[in-house]
Subunit: 523 residues, 2 copies
């Protein structure tokens, strides 16, 4: 018998509740389109019903390839309400990369924006195209029409059920599927809402892609409090400035890169009210923080990984920091901070999983556990076991612990590049470069980049008698890889090696990052 | 093996987190005393350690008889951190009533404020007296001294473990022990924080007794966000006004009764900033709401029972209500509203547990289920089963459902009186009255009271040839019952009965509440 004193935690409940309390309140804004909470809920539940009618069964995967549209947002509730599992795919990937994810996840349905339809050509999944018009001829609207307007969400039997599989590039060539649960999504959404002060008066602008860790759980958090979602098809600074002013935006998330472009845009002028900006993916620079403050953006620095539902720490700003000189304040704010109040604390540990001292000097690995850690990698028990070695999730990020308990990243143990908030597997780039007929061998490392934080650089040894130019190599990669993954620079020559012939990538990194104390890109 | 992706939910984590993030921030204010979060956590963990050293074992009960002091607050974390179970006792009870609870709960320790020490005379529990000085001669401080300053909380093995047993008067003569869990406390604390906009800048004044449903979970919610607790030994309007002004209070909870006294006090003058007042126990009257608004109190009407961790619904104010005439606004605000965003929805059902129509007319019973419902009554499987009939918790409150989904109480199915936020069992009062040698039989019902919402009235038939006065009966009860439970009025005469001789209490109620459409006291 079910326990009277227990309900399974699921973020689906947030939409039902806001639809009950705020039925007439505008929930979603998309250009001229407006949906109230009653409409938002009806559409999400219609989607659930339509998916079930089309044959979706419990646990079936539903892939999404979409910019930040109402359809994408509806999926965050409609798919789990149908007991399906979300598979949000990075829209910048190539047809080949998308194909791998669709196949690995075994997606039964793919809900795809019309601009991205070419990415699913030939896919086994049943494709539902979204024209994003909201009009009666839109295939997505027609699909919704096949669902019932009075559908009820299917009950979640176990809150530790998977709600979403988010593919992320890791240290291997192939992306891994990060499984997250209803319970984790519920708690992370509330944690984000509490840490960033969301309320029914909040207006959230969708700059951060919803495919990224499910938009850091904000589709659920903003809905929980009855706030307003402002959709955005593409990151366009002029349009963002228009929405900031005209729609009364109060909260935005994204990588610092986005805000560099924004604050330097010709339309930049101080906001009428403070806008909270949660920044993750790289620490913000002092220049950026200063310019943001002038424009009345309140920057909050958050940190996390796809494996932790997106951000799970926040650099809580202490009131006394206000009086410090900007450089000093920025230095403090560039730290990754403390775990959210809903989460277990993060630790910085040595190789024996013992805490390093809080001396701001000893470097250790950041490890996490608890409700904000993924359930595991989909269909990859070995990688899961490795990631969970010793009963803790290993972030692969190297950090010091400050005397005030704030964590600060210093370097990466994992061979990975984070560029504009996106993970890039160096191995994947290397494997692509060496397919070029002139290339003998290749090593890719991160180099610092003012705009993107980090970008990949390829060090290449050519085959004897062969030749190739930097431009040729880059072009070759762009035909095969998502553009953000392609080398920003190429250098030809011998690769440094150990006596046994192993490429010493750390030497290449050392050279590129010389003179910097923190080897994590900063934008 | 423990799951890497799961941490048991417990509000103990909130104190550890705030101590890590805000160690130097003032957490607790008590007159001239100030404790930072580092000190608050150290004291709570010392308490846990001292209790363990004194022999407390997992699941042992620790009773509290205390006004809203730092010691009481520390117990909300220290007892669960020691894997103990809180038993907060209403300080207005008599020695006899307290004795029953101590015995029924099997409390191993009783932490008792010096003013209430007489209530535990002769108790089996080990008594730790709190002089509430914070000084070295205070027995409580000496007890803390026996604990370790570097104690760690014991891990919670299962979030559904009981954190507290809260005794409440029900429809039977004896109070029942409401068991609540770590999970429920965690979620209710966050729900309250989100619904009432708590943040690290919040200053919470402790007007509501912490023995009442653990202060509606605010010891945990305020601590979670790193807000400030302002303690208060007694509800004294002059002192409350001083604290409101001098301590920068932003949030208060309590029954409307308290605010009636406050707004009419000679020190009442408009606040410099808005103070949010969560009111439960009775709906606020239009007069009270109007006066509160003048003084910049922002009233929020909440509803719940001890069995639901205190409030679990809130009458969410819609922006468009602002433009309505006061009487109309007050009428809307007097409704109990919707469940918190963290909770499953409440329902209003008929005898077959089917939803009544949302027509604002059909009366049904309010039922709840989910994480905000008690685990059961301690050592009372029968009462638990009755309360959970059909898989829902039966509130015993009769309500209508409005077309906008707001629940509004109309009457009670349970024979219970709620006076100034305190439950009174009519049976308990009747059983006391009939002990008077002149009384033949007695029926107690609620009568409306402007200050307390409701108060008990006793209808008495005297034995042939005997006599007694109203004052004598009341005095007789005051010697045997908590004063708030004693009849406010006595009427002598025949009791209305059925043909089979059963007293028809509803007839007495009908008479007393004639001309009112809502038969729930309003203060």
């Amino acid at each position: 018998m079910e326990k009277v004193y227990r309900a399974e935690l699921t973020p689906v409940s947030f939409l039902l509740r806001s639809a009950a309390v705020f039925p007439e309140r505008v929930a979603v804004v998309h250009g001229e389109r407006r949906y109230t909470y009653a409409q938002f809920a009806e559409r999400a539940l219609r989607l659930a019903s339509a998916l079930r009618t089309a044959g979706l069964e419990e646990g079936d995967r539903v892939a999404y390839l979409s910019p930040n549209t109402p359809a994408m947002l509806e999926g965050k509730f409609g798919v789990p309400a149908a007991a399906g599992v979300l598979v949000p795919i990075n829209t910048r990937l190539t047809h080949h990369e998308v194909g791998y994810i669709l196949e690995h996840s075994g997606a039964r349905f793919a809900i795809v924006d019309h601009e991205l339809a070419h990415l699913v050509d030939g896919a086994a999944a049943e494709v539902i195209r979204v024209d994003d018009t909201g009009g009666p001829t839109d295939p997505y609207e027609q699909f919704l029409g096949t669902g019932s307007s009075s559908a009820e969400p299917l009950p979640i039997k176990d809150e530790e059920q998977v709600i979403s599989i988010n593919y992320t590039s890791g240290t291997t060539g192939k992306p891994k599927g990060v499984m997250v649960t209803h319970r984790g999504a519920f708690l992370n959404a509330l944690g984000g809402a509490l840490e960033t002060g969301l309320s029914a008066d909040s207006v959230y602008l969708w700059v951060l892609p919803m495919f990224h860790c499910n938009g850091w759980c904000y589709p659920w958090g903003v809905t929980a409090v009855g706030g307003r979602h402002v959709c955005l098809r593409r990151v366009d600074a002029a349009e963002i400035w228009r929405l900031l002013h005209e729609e009364g935006v109060t909260h935005v998330c994204g990588a610092p890169t986005v805000y560099v472009g924004l604050v330097n845009h010709e339309h930049a002028r101080p906001l009428e009210r403070e806008v909270r900006v949660m920044m993750g993916g790289a620490p913000p620079s002092p220049t950026l923080l200063a310019r943001m403050a002038e424009l009345r953006f309140h920057a909050m620095h958050v940190y996390g990984l796809t494996e932790t539902y997106g951000p799970m720490t926040v650099c809580v700003e202490q009131p006394e920091w206000d009086e410090l000189p900007l450089e000093e304040r920025a230095r403090l704010l560039a730290r990754q901070g403390h775990a959210y109040l809903t989460h277990a604390p993060v630790r910085v540990v040595d190789l024996e999983l013992k805490d390093v001292p809080c001396d701001a000097e000893t470097v250790g690995e950041v490890v996490m556990r608890g409700n904000n850690v993924m359930k595991g990698y989909y269909r990859d028990a070995e990688a899961t076991e490795r990631a969970f070695a010793g009963g803790w999730f290993h972030s692969g990020d190297l950090a010091v612990w400050h005397p005030d308990g704030y964590v600060e990243l210093r370097d990466r143990a994992k061979d990975i590049i984070i560029s504009g908030g996106e993970n890039i597997s160096t191995i994947e780039v290397e494997q692509t470069v060496v397919q070029h007929p002139a290339v003998l061998e290749c090593a890719v490392v991160a180099i610092p980049d003012e705009r993107w934080g980090e970008r990949p650089k390829a060090f290449i040894t050519l085959k004897p008698g062969q030749s190739a130019t930097e431009a040729e190599i880059i072009e070759f990669c762009r035909d095969r890889l998502a553009h953000f993954k392609c080398p920003a620079a190429v250098e030809f020559g011998e690769l440094p090696k150990t006596s046994t012939g192993k490429v010493q990538k750390f030497q290449l990194r050392e050279r590129e990052w010389a003179g910097r104390d923190v080897r994590i890109g900063r934008a």
